[in-house]
Amino acid sequence: MTFLKNSVSLLLNQQTIKRELLRSTVIEITINVILLALLTLTAISLAFTKDLFASVMLMGVYSLLSASFFVLMDAVDVAFTEAAVGAGISTILMLTVLAMAGRFENRALHHPRIALFVVIGTGIMLVFGTFDMPAFGDINAPVQTHVAPHYIQQSGAEIDIPNIVTSVLASYRGFDTFGEVVVVFTAVIGVLALLEMKSEEVRNSVAPAPMYQHKILRIVGKILIPPIMLFALYVQFHGEYGPGGGFQAGVIFSAAIILHAILFGVETTAKAISLPFVKVLAALGVLIYGSVGIVAMLNGGRFLEYNALAENAITGQHVGIIVIELGVGITVATAMMVIFLTFARRVGKSNGESA
């Protein structure tokens, strides 16, 4: 409805506005309302289902719906990541854990009244906070007028790549992204510290039954793995021009490996990609990112100041962005592989103990 109101006012202000804009806005509102309704339905049904398998699936649905919502909100990069990470990797990790932890939650809720009270209190506080918020989609909101115009108007001249999100991500706020790569690395360390098994434990474990005997799955899977990897590379190197970049590429690449592991068994994959080497690669990705910063420092710039990387500032920016995206891609891809394979091996251990 806000869309409608604002677009009508736009219509009144500018006679020249095209009819298509109005039409597309109406379609947008409709999709917006439908998506929000579906999101709400999913979230609420999540609170009530006792079947964890269904919960995990609903969570995947929720992520996919929010990814669609992000597309509607013009956040294509975020949508891409959410679809790959939220609906893809998170879901598959949760399913792997369910194989060990059991499928049903069989306990009553914990103090549901108190919880409801806390939640409603927090919600009221948040609603209170919305009263003075700038209107949704308002072009004159502070968010749109203070720092953002610089990115939109200057990034073309300063960095010269079309995707502004990549410019901001890799250059203007490159340090945040560095932090983010380190977060992924930290997660790898955490998972390894908790779940890594000794080699004799690996030998004693009974790997989860691979899908090898399912002919159709195996053949189709085999056909798909190379294109998926190719697509990952496309996403990696196309991030400057369209939605994509190191994160999405890394996740997609690891998806190919995960598919391989599901089809042919964890141990086959662990051998094929050499797990210890992959661990080193995860660390290397972080170091590649960091070393770009250090090289910039040695060339007389600030940390991560890509302008200092080459004679020409623009070339420097391009080189810097490509290299750090590579670092991001390597770390994310290897991190997701290591995390998944470590989890899946652990399933083998619990299988081995129960057998």
Binding site: M211, H214, I216, L217, V220, I223, L224, P227
Partner: protein, 123 residues
């Protein structure tokens, strides 16, 4: 020619949309897991294929979008039936049995499919 292409593409889009819709209705209306999956398969394969072809006709030759759509088309053509297959097999493996007409247990129903049961018996 352009009008002809436009008309064909719209026809495909509408038809695809109808297929998706009918698939959605089917998921709601069909009685058990396997028949519902049949409906969902229609949505996935036929509906989206038609829509993709319709979109391809809309884009014209000069854009890379055409190639991308073609690739998506191929991908869906390959994965969607496989996914349905895997799902059905998993369900069968998990103990879910298709609902077969009247609840009669006779010798001509293969032992493999077991007794007919309602869809709610997913262990």
């Amino acid at each position: 020619m352009a009008i002809f292409l436009d008309a064909v593409s719209w026809a495909l889009l509408v038809l695809g949309g109808f297929m998706c819709f009918s698939g959605a209705v089917g998921i709601h209306r069909f009685p058990d897991f396997f028949s519902r999956m049949h409906a969902a398969g229609v949505t996935d394969t036929l509906g989206s294929s038609l829509i993709l072809i319709g979109l391809m006709l809309q884009t014209g030759w000069q854009d890379t979008v055409l190639v991308k759509l073609l690739l998506i088309f191929l991908f869906i053509l390959l994965t969607s039936p496989t996914a349905s297959h895997a799902l059905a097999k998993a369900a069968l493996h998990g103990g879910l049995r298709p609902k077969l007409g009247k609840p009669e247990v006779s010798d001509d129903i293969p032992e493999k499919f077991g007794k007919p049961s309602s869809e709610s018996t997913n262990n």
